[in-house]
Symmetry: C2
Subunit: 568 residues, 2 copies
């Protein structure tokens, strides 16, 4: 049951729903013509179907291993990464001055989704490089850019993010890694970092670590964190490799999924690093990378969901059961059909939200418009949390479609569920995303949220003549979201916002999904209409319960004492 | 973070919520005095905490293995099972005439939950024996009962269920295993069965298989299925072991979870079997076993959920993060608190439903009353599906509470999520449970469902004076459920019932949970009230969306063609 790239869906979404033409109408992205985009997606689709997807099971069955200090990667991953690098896919959206293709993030988002479907464990490697490239483009000195960007963009070298330490996870500000000036403009970096995705690999010429650390006397918390580039091999000025730096992979984690992706504990012992951006302003630079990565992780969720959906659908269309004459397959059973249609409808919603997000990033980049920037900021946590939730839910439902076979590892359904599971956790747990949405992204008094809701209501109004029932449901849902947002913004005590932030984010995503499906019903064929109806009538109503939950705020949340919570 | 048996919760539920005194007031269960029940739960709790729980990780890390035809079990499982058998826990509810304790199913249900929390992979072994004992008690000849029941009850021998074949899963009627009369009252059984839990084990003296097979010339489908007892070793009349039967374990499955439970492919080559019950009436006997097992599997979900909850809570109370002075733990964060309280509230609801179910079984057994029997029939699919859904959801949330640590296998959080995953699938997928609820369990025109709803409404009415807001919410939810049930029963086309059967079952469970929590708020302390409020205000509203989903029926469900579903 091989993966097939959903090119038709992307074409439809690009042209008819999220409107990529507004991006190619800008000077910045003028080269991204419909023909070029079509050709690029086709090429990426072929690569994912033919070269990357066959590596997925091998990555699960033969995890990356640490042997005598060398990270031995899964069978075929070296060739797979080579194909990705040589195709220019690492640097799709990177600056052409350094070898990138300079394409819109919207196009990169579609390619990243397909690559996650094909093999999320391998796709993490270029994804991390993409984030690092963006961080360096925005914050590094010209010297660093000249030295590192061409190598990262070409895929000769790869990038990592080093934030987490054993005592500093969601609370990055608690990190202790030290950076001491060497007196020659470089710094000596010492400390231990954990959860370093693709911390090393036997096919990688040089690994470039972006490391958060504290300078001597730096303020406590996030205001005393600086960012450093710390390469495994210290490059000479011509880009050739010099001395081995004082850093090493201590161990690799034994994980529930993404076995092919080496997750390293990294040790730095006065490793040589170079400052990126200003002293004590490391978080700002890291946020550039994290925002990119958050969109990327949401899209990973959608990608794994798509692959799990295709896998389950193929099984359901093949599995004969329940008809005396032995002809019927389970795809005809109403409950199996419900599961598969739910999966498809949710994938569509999450994919559309991710593409709206990417469009906003592209428009902000191309126009410098603050509105687009605020839109991207609003949508990023929603894309990340909803996309990854859909990844988990759809892969779990795909397993369920398989019945007993789903629990048998050889079937492959369980791998999607295990792989997807990390996406709701890394790059900020979905709880952190929700807090970001209701606090930082509402520091404008809810202005951007209201603007988004207004847009959804206007769109529903415009659709009312042709699709009165569906348009009415979407309008009402948007209105309920507006009222909930007004309640939220009125809460002075952040605890009241945080207590219901996860249900609120999910409700926001549900309504955005209704908005995207309604648009699809207006401009698409009968099948789009039927899918939109399924979503709007059966899945969108979830917003009602979610918003009821949210409105409770923190009231009574602490009335059950810790003693009572732990009473047995 | 060791497991602690939730004895206080059971005591509260027994005495104040599900009212076990009505069971001990019957002649049949007169011996089950409060003192005896208390003592039994205490002993079972100690066994689970001290002997069984320490085996859980070992089972995951060292799966059962097939070596030269012998099923080598996980380290410590032999001793663990010995302790279970010697404590009399296999035969808790079995007939005292054959060595059982004859205790109410309500008590067994609590013990089974604790044992599932401690080690679900091992607990499956006595659980299957319990189902087999009940099936033989009801359907086997005296000769078979005399020979097998004492050995099964004592745990010297263990039992299995053999339904599934590669082409016959949810559709049991498609099975092909043959039973040919040997002319001496025995039958020659030939065929392959899959997914045979605890198909064999190196500490088991004799494995007794209950096998569904077809006699020559039997009608097609489920009406041509007979049930046979097929022992690994053919017992002599005195219970000593005779010849090795012609059956064998072909292979063990490589599964996502419950690694310690050997899941076998069994091959029967003219193995000697004895008919249980009448020819072609095997499904009736098997249903006795399956109904027992369905309650048991729902309770497994609750058990794994409880263990995962305790594990996550202990982590959250220990994990310092987010406060500058390094004193605060994440359990103080509103979103973490929301997750943990949701887990606790849902466990309470699912546990109460399972206990109501068990009470109904006991009252039906003790009184022969058709109303109690219908109640048990109604609640069984709800207990199974909701209990297992809670098992999956709570163990997934427990993993989420751990953040990045949750994805690392050594933490143990992932094991709960992997183990729980089977419970929504085996003993009839949750889709099958929902179809059972809306079709077979509504063949009475909804009478028993209405009776249950009526009871919930009356209970809410009675609570209105003291807890107006919570009682009002539960009453309204029950009323919405009644209207939905009326709609459901009115659908002549079963497709319309089936299409929304999963959301309907879940809504029913949600409302039952509200009923149980409301009762708890009335009679419990402030902590019970706070938990009830959390559930009723934040989780119960889910029924609104679920019932909206259900009401769509099969309309439009097939409007998206298979071509469009598979379009990429």
């Amino acid at each position: 049951m091989p993966y097939r790239a959903p090119l038709k869906d992307f074409r439809f979404l690009f042209d008819k729903v999220v409107d990529i033409s507004q991006v190619s109408a800008t000077e910045r992205y003028a080269e991204a013509t419909p023909e070029l985009v079509e050709q690029i997606l086709g090429e990426a689709g072929r690569l994912c179907e033919e070269v990357i997807a066959p590596l997925q099971r091998a990555g699960d069955l033969h995890p990356a291993k640490l042997e005598n200090g060398v990270v031995r990667t899964s069978p075929g991953f070296a060739d797979g990464f080579k194909a990705i690098a040589e195709g220019g896919w690492v640097g799709m959206s990177a600056d052409p001055d350094y070898g990138g293709m300079g394409l819109p993030m919207t196009v990169t988002t579609a390619v990243n989704e397909m690559m996650s479907s094909a093999c999320i464990a391998l796709q993490l490697c270029p994804l991390l490089s993409q984030g690092q490239i963006e961080a360096l483009e925005h914050h590094a000195s010209d010297a660093i850019k000249d030295l590192y960007l061409p190598k990262l963009t070409s895929g000769e070298w790869t990038g990592t993010m080093n934030l987490t330490e054993p005592q500093a996870g969601s609370d990055v500000g608690a990190l202790k890694t030290k950076a001491e000036p060497n007196g020659d403009g470089t710094y000596a970096i010492s400390g231990q970092k954990i959860y370093i995705t693709w911390g090393d690999g036997d096919f990688i010429e040089n690994v470039v670590h972006l490391v958060l650390a504290r300078l001597p006397g730096a303020p406590e918390g996030t205001k005393g964190i600086s960012l450093f580039v710390v390469p495994k091999f210290i490059p000479n000025e011509d880009g050739s490799l010099g001395d081995r730096n004082d850093l090493r992979v201590v161990s690799l984690e034994h994980k529930m999924g993404i076995h092919g992706s080496p997750t390293a504990v990294m040790q730095y012992d006065r490793a040589t690093g170079w400052l990126v951006g200003e002293e004590n302003k490391g978080m700002a630079a890291m946020f550039t990378m994290m925002n990119n990565a958050r969109l990327g992780v949401g899209v990973q969720g959608v990608g794994v969901a798509e692959a799990a959906y295709q896998h389950a659908l193929a099984y359901a269309m093949d599995r004969v059961q329940g008809k005396a004459d032995g002809t019927g397959t389970i795809v005809e059973h109403p409950d199996v059909r419900r599961m598969l249609t739910t999966m498809k409808a949710d994938i569509y919603a999450a994919r559309a939200i991710a593409l709206y997000n990417a469009i906003s990033i592209d428009m902000a980049e191309a126009t410098g418009d603050a509105g687009w920037k605020a839109r991207a900021g609003l949508l990023t946590p929603i894309t990340k949390a909803f996309g990854s939730d859909v990844g988990v839910a759809v892969s779990q439902e795909g397993l369920q479609v398989h019945g007993g076979m789903g629990f048998i590892e050889e079937t492959g359904a369980a791998q999607y569920a295990r792989d997807a599971r990390i996406t709701t956790i890394y790059e900020g747990t979905n709880g952190i995303q929700s807090m970001d949405l209701v606090a930082r992204k509402m520091m404008d008094g809810g202005e951007e949220a209201y603007r988004m809701i207004e847009e959804m209501e206007e769109s529903a109004e415009a659709a009312r003549a042709r699709l009165p029932e569906l348009a009415g449901d979407v309008w009402s849902a948007a209105e309920a979201l507006r009222e909930a947002t007004e309640w939220l913004v009125a809460q002075q005590d952040l605890q009241d916002r945080f207590a219901g932030s996860v249900p609120y984010l999910r409700a926001f995503a549900r309504v955005l999904g209704g908005f995207a499906h309604l648009k699809s019903a207006l401009v698409g064929d009968d099948s789009h209409k039927a899918l939109a109806r399924f979503y709007i009538k059966r899945l969108l109503p979830e917003h009602v319960s979610l918003l009821a939950h949210m409105r409770e705020g923190a009231e009574g949340l602490y009335d059950i004492s810790l003693d009572d919570l732990s009473a047995a």
